[in-house]
């Protein structure tokens, strides 16, 4: 079958159009489909970004009716920058720091997919924001170390670590009390 627009190339796209109840069958080639606007092709090539925004669409398992209902009832919207969750899915970007709070309940699956199953931060902490958060992280790692030392029956080393933990706990306590005052 040849393309009904150019009558030159073979028709590779076949579809039925319904406009105001009138059904018409369309058989066109890709070039004409593009030119006549039968199909919209994205301007830019498929980028990593498209792929990622696709990943956010994890609601798709819910049946469409239910999904529409959910949307109507309560669409999450950031109180600060007014970005909605569907904006976020479309753009693949957050609007502000507050978005992370607003969409919090829906973000774990997003992060899991993007970051190989991880959802929680381990790493640098801003000094001034952290306050004693730094120390708490240090405390956590010391505790883990202590456990493994005990397991390996390296009691002498374990005792040193235990003392360090005690000191650190005291420091944190003092700091917290200091802040409370």
């Amino acid at each position: 079958m040849e393309c009904q627009e150019c009558h030159k190339r073979p028709a590779t796209l076949h579809f039925t159009q319904v406009i105001n109840g009138n059904k018409t069958e369309v058989h066109v080639c890709e070039v004409c489909a593009k030119e006549k606007g039968y199909m919209s092709f994205p301007d830019e090539a498929y980028t990593l970004h498209n792929l990622i925004t696709g990943l956010f669409d994890f609601d798709s398992s819910i049946n469409p009716q239910k999904k529409a209902h959910l949307k109507q009832s309560k669409e999450l919207q950031c109180p600060k920058c007014e970005m909605t969750f569907s904006d976020f899915k479309r753009l693949g970007k957050f609007g502000c720091a507050e978005c992370y709070n607003t969409f919090s309940s829906k973000l774990d699956p997003v992060f899991r997919r993007v970051h190989s199953g991880n959802t929680l931060h381990h790493g640098k902490i801003p000094k001034r924001k952290g306050g004693h958060l730094h120390l708490k992280k240090e405390l956590d790692s010391l505790r883990i170390e202590l456990q493994s030392l005990i397991k390996n029956e390296e009691f002498e080393k374990a005792a040193t670590i235990r003392d360090q933990i005690k000191d650190l706990e005291q420091t944190i306590k003092n700091k917290e009390e200091g802040e409370a005052e």
Binding site: G92, G95, S116, L120, G123, P126
Partner: protein, 356 residues
Amino acid sequence: MTLSHFIDEAISPWMRDQGPDSDIVLSSRIRLARNFSEATFPLIADKEELEHIKTFMKDEFADGTFQDNVNFEFIPMQDISSVEQRVLIEKHLISPLLAKKSAQGAAAMISQSEKISVMINEEDHVRIQLYFPGLQLSKALEKAFEFDDWLEEKINYAFDESRGYLTSCPTNVGTGMRASVMMHLPALTMTKQLTRMVPAINQLGLVVRGIYGEGSETIGNLFQISNQITLGRTEEDIIEDLQSVVHQLIEHERQARKRLMERSGTKLEDRIYRSLGTLEYSRIIESKEAARCLSNVRLGIDLGIIKHISRNILNELMVLTQPGFLQHYAKKTLKANERDILRASLIRERLQLEKK
């Protein structure tokens, strides 16, 4: 304005130093994405807010000194020409996105040595980049943290205890860190081993791409290996993984070079000398051909076949022969064929210098 020294020289001052494994690793880079906690991200912020951030950065840091007299030049994108922007992109000092946002408060803050560059109002409010020659990821990270702490004295960063540093794109959240290593892998490419290795590298959460970042094609057998995951792992762990893969690639590349020399030494030598001949004598040269020849010549230098040319020639001519640089040099817009002529003549001139 001392912008000219960033623009006129194709090679950044830090590139002149030789780092570890610099026969294969050209540079190590650490990028940290940071945002102001109170402001909306550049994606949707209005111009006023972005201008405010730009002014804040200029007032607080542009005249400041970060360690050992490291001073910065503050460059608002709207104050420089599109050719100048292009040159900064070709030198990897800014991204194409930053140049695009020149009307929306985009600016760059670059240290004199060009080791540190800060992009302001790109995708995030602040993006810190540090470059070190050769394979020096840990050193780069250490410096990046110190610089980050310096900025943090005055910026209240968007940070969340459980999610880490908050970024505009979910792919950067957590550490906000992208560590990357630029590698010259001609032997692994020639023997088609790299293509087979890429899937395994990807499985470790690392990405391999061309030198001009995402979506860019590989030119001159130069590849950028970087981490994809930013959440859930510490910066040190991420770097350790990257480093171990890079070490393996270095090892494989060295072996492949050795084997090529043993099995088809004359063929390899022929290829290297032909490339040198092309660079020394051609009158018209396209950028792809130039990159290919430069890669071969650099391999010849590393293998000790070519002795009179300095190693830096690859990095330098790779940048010097990019369209932006050529047009800056010619001081006018050039058509593709005009660029090919100028490129050939600049390469000839540069190689002549080496002979003196």
